[in-house]
Symmetry: C2
Subunit: 103 residues, 2 copies
């Protein structure tokens, strides 16, 4: 992760420490990755976090973003809620990070 991004992340994590601990208490966990796919922060074990980054952030989110752009090039994906039988994935793509929280 480049130095600017890590500085940006440190500030965000520091500023949002209360939110982060509230999220961790009330959810299954969270994953933050850089938009190049590098895992940056998580409350999960590494294997689970890497799998979420790979399958949700890299594959599925990228396809979702391009599907929305294909439908309307002036539109942009802002947030996704994906309900499955077992969990609910809240996916917030942003720049330079994407965060997924699992309810």
């Amino acid at each position: 992760m480049n130095r600017l991004n890590s500085k940006v992340l440190e500030e965000i994590v520091h500023k949002n420490a209360d939110n982060t601990s509230r999220i961790v208490e009330q959810t299954h966990g969270y994953v933050v990755s850089e938009n190049n796919g590098a895992l940056v922060a998580t409350s999960f074990d590494n294997t689970t976090a890497q799998a979420i980054v790979k399958h949700v952030h890299d594959n599925f989110l990228k396809m979702a973003q391009s599907a929305i752009r294909d439908l309307d090039p002036t539109d942009k994906l802002c947030f996704m809620r994906v309900a499955t039988r077992k969990f609910e994935f809240l996916v917030a793509p942003d720049d330079p990070f994407t965060i997924t929280v699992l309810l």
Copy 2:
């Protein structure tokens, strides 16, 4: 569309006529497609409906379903809300139909 599916659809549309008109009044519209990609019912023009079936039902939804299965083969995607700058896509995959409502 095979005869069984069209009978199933007719019954569903008939039974839900009130819901359908309420949906049409309060949303941008809806698209129903068979899971083989055939457009079955819509309140949009044909071009818009076909684009939603292609980009949302075929590409993006299929990738989402496989991403969820890759994460946990015993899990299953039930519902998606995708918020973009302009719209919100409510996507309900089922068998034999998938419906998307646009808010």
